[in-house]
Symmetry: C2
Subunit: 332 residues, 2 copies
Amino acid sequence: MRQTALGIDIGGTFTKFGLSDIEGNILMEGSIPTYTHKEIDQFLEALSTAIKENLDKILEPIDIIGVGIGAPNGNYYNGTIEHAPNLHWKGIIPFIDLFQKHFDLPMIMTNDANAAAIGEKVFGGAKDMNDFIVVTLGTGLGSGFVTRGKLIYGHDGLAGELGHTNVYPDGRECNCGKRGCLETYASASGIKRTVFKLLATNNVDTPLRNYTYESLSSKKITEMALQGDPIALEAYEYTSDILGLKLADAAAVTSPETIFLFGGLAKAGDILIEATKKAFNDYLYPGYKGKIQIKLSELMDKNAAVLGASALVWSEIAQSDIIRVPQQSRVM
Amino acid sequence: MRQTALGIDIGGTFTKFGLSDIEGNILMEGSIPTYTHKEIDQFLEALSTAIKENLDKILEPIDIIGVGIGAPNGNYYNGTIEHAPNLHWKGIIPFIDLFQKHFDLPMIMTNDANAAAIGEKVFGGAKDMNDFIVVTLGTGLGSGFVTRGKLIYGHDGLAGELGHTNVYPDGRECNCGKRGCLETYASASGIKRTVFKLLATNNVDTPLRNYTYESLSSKKITEMALQGDPIALEAYEYTSDILGLKLADAAAVTSPETIFLFGGLAKAGDILIEATKKAFNDYLYPGYKGKIQIKLSELMDKNAAVLGASALVWSEIAQSDIIRVPQQSRVM
């Protein structure tokens, strides 16, 4: 009987789910809208129904050993979603306690960027690494820090908020309530803000002047940058410089072997990566120079959200030895 | 027979050593100058002789279970001191390999701030904590990050360089070769630079105008601040604001329960702590607000350097159960 893990990735717009085995083969997948379900009970009912319908279609005998859930502001220690700005359900939602009424299975939850980091370790480019960072550049900026082979959860289960470190304390308004957070610069929404700032300060002729704030996407900015548009290129340079600096600061805390970039903005590839690497090395503590890599996530084109969520199961519930941490302490 | 650990703290000026038991009782202590020994062999010879002379004076029977060494740029994985700017011995010094020729004992090395962090865990205010940060505010700024009850060493053994995160990339020259590092602002030397900057930009009358750069100490600045000197007070405010911001950034990575401040500058007490707390909370991700404390180290008035170095032995060589980490993962 094949051992499988159910992975669930809760996003502001869609919630994706999938069943995979330890090799990362996906046996079934699906999704439901998140935002249409204003009440958590209603959402869990719809999610359970969709998952059960999909499970019924699997013909081979399977054993589901656990459920991994990646969610914005997901708390690892409590299984709760806490004050997530992009979700309808306000306050502290005891997600796992509620969801176990639908599936009597071991469940584990963390935030989406942490799930991406565990996904990178189990299925991606960090298989042989114990110290690395995954930075997700989506609408916001998320981060998962792994040291000694394990995620840093911190004292409250909510560590890894690189997106809310300070760039310009009097700068751009952030959804979190502060100003000048990294994610207001280095994210899909951040680069759009940068383009609008550049349109205001330059007279350069560019088709970007024909977009409203609502209609402009980071995908479009990437497209324009690849075509050589000077404003789009400058926006990427500005973004990369700030990102490189804050990644150098993060590296000075955990000294990772590699920083993996993931998500929509990372799809710009070299335009983002090369400039970020340059800035990173300029701002990096010289003691680390030449030792820390910046790379694209190896899960970029896969169903990373679902794989990352199910990787939680393989790494923590299955107690499999795939995440065996070598003893690095050298007592001489 | 009493079990003991030998702790050694290598500083640019003096090297301190001491023998302590698991309760933190110090059985003997001493020091030798560091800077007068230009060659490492000569230094180790002098250190060994001094330690052996002091050991001979102990009358009760003792068992030395290991040696813990705190050193600038000390590499935990290799037992080496690597390119330490404040020491004579250049390049990579295989310290433990050389020192074991003098003492045939298990040895463990880390940098001085990491040793302070382990000292805080074994003997100080972090006894019951698994997630905390210790920041040492001396001539420079050092940091030790503990998560899940263990130090973060990173992929190369050199993690925890908060002092070299970026404040103003075009700012003050740092010994590390970069500009604008945190330690050029928030340290004993940093606050002196700030005083000189303030003397240059203000016309305020202050006795601080009678000091040369060489003769002014951070201790003097603290003394003047406590007496209400406006320049000294402004220097502390400026320092605290920058320190609070960068501590908020660090907290966003590891979400510690407490950040302990330690070292000469921390002796300013409330003048530093209260303003740093205020800035910290202003710049902190709202999700952490009210949950993360900033406190003075509880080892401030003790022989912290030696205790910290010997704590390495108790926490790693002795495999004692004093650092037992509770299982925090909640699989539901």
